[in-house]
Symmetry: D2
Subunit: 142 residues, 4 copies
């Protein structure tokens, strides 16, 4: 399925619709194969000892799966996550951003399914993996 | 297995070890059957339109599953989440806290498994369900 | 939501529609709270050493979640599983049936969400837990 | 991590240890990137209407994730699945085998994490995806 929103379009969408968290995220790249989303790690993402919190990694996976879906269907503020399964596999490295690589596995009329691998920037060993399902709202008739 | 940390002990542990988020959570009750954890919903948990964010609900499930484990094994700051599967089923109600009810299904030497139901306070229809696995660090020898 | 198929009706449905596996399963009870399904463990469910195979436990969870949905919506041969997350927690006991207890957590127009605990008959420690999502086909117009 | 069991070694292991199901499976290929496992679809895997049963697809994912782990650690009949999350995305095609492609994402001392994509042979659209965790037994001392 053709890409209808590129990295610039997704970044603009984030600023417009998710103003509260838009500063945390940046879309590095959108291709047929995957959408790459960066979490700009800041103090608000850390736990004692300097590790990145679970909710921060969940949020990164969630936004990455959402954006890889939107890259094919266009802006849909109403799509909602219905399921996420996430495995935390390694401790993220301190002092570097997290990079999420999201693949769209299925795009149906009602549901999309994606999977995401999360890396510490500069490493090729994933710190987490996730799979997510989104419910796509019925098309409005205008 | 006997309860070794009650609600007061878990609340004190949260303040001591997770100072950054301790204000968000409050343990309402600990019993043999379940541990009940409250998310004091504030502006930092909301998305546009007033709905509670996915990461906030994930974080609630994660802390609830962690605390139900600690209620039986005592304070272990090092236990780490290895897997979470979460289903988002209904939109939370506006203006009320979220209540998580966590059950411990297995407590092994290396892993604990819990499940969690999350409700808007005052409702009996769950907004989310989650199951979580924790890796328990080997006992230190002192 | 009212129960529209009781244990007898679900057992008759299994024989009619899933003849190949109907001998493996028996609905012990249907109530508002849960549907209880028995796996009549036979040689075809065993692995070397006498343990019950993973696919047999997955199948039991899948059928239990399906039947608890049908108990509320009536016979729908076309409902399909879209997601299952399952944790294997303990080794089943040898020589006894498995008992699945399924709760319906959400029944929407398009999706149902259930969770299931599986026990060796006579034990109160679950051997597995699962959560499942079903896609419910649109009502046919006849 | 180096490959210590190739396709021939894994196929021989299946015959030796899982005689009951060894005829159902065949390892097509083992590489650094992935292990490819074939389900030789037969009448025992089908549901009414000719579709492949959920337990058959679960079993394929389970064996594929197990074998990709063994390809790096050698024969370990005792490794046990602790968690599986599986999404069923498309109806398999009739009359062709299923092909599972398993990647090893983490290999720790106690746990391995893998993900699996399942295809109808000859198609590039996955019918299912799964992620699985295995508990690896402590090394015996001989």
């Amino acid at each position: 399925m053709a890409i209808v929103m590129d990295a610039d379009a997704l970044n603009a969408f984030l600023v417009e619709v998710f103003e509260q968290v838009a500063d945390d995220f940046f879309v590095d790249d959108v291709s047929e194969e995957e959408t790459i989303l960066r979490l700009r790690v800041g103090p608000q993402h850390l736990r004692p000892g300097g590790t990145i919190s679970g909710p921060s990694m969940f949020g990164l996976a969630d936004v990455a799966a959402y954006l890889v879906t939107l890259s094919r269907i266009g802006p849909q503020a109403l799509a909602v996550t219905t399921n996420c399964s996430i495995d935390f596999m390694r401790k993220p490295q301190a002092g570097v951003d997290l990079i999420a690589k999201a693949r769209l596995l299925k795009l149906g009329k009602q549901l999309s399914v994606s999977d995401v691998l999360i890396y510490s920037e500069g490493s090729d060993k994933p710190v987490a993996r996730a799979s997510l399902t989104y419910a796509i709202p019925p098309k409005s008739i205008g």
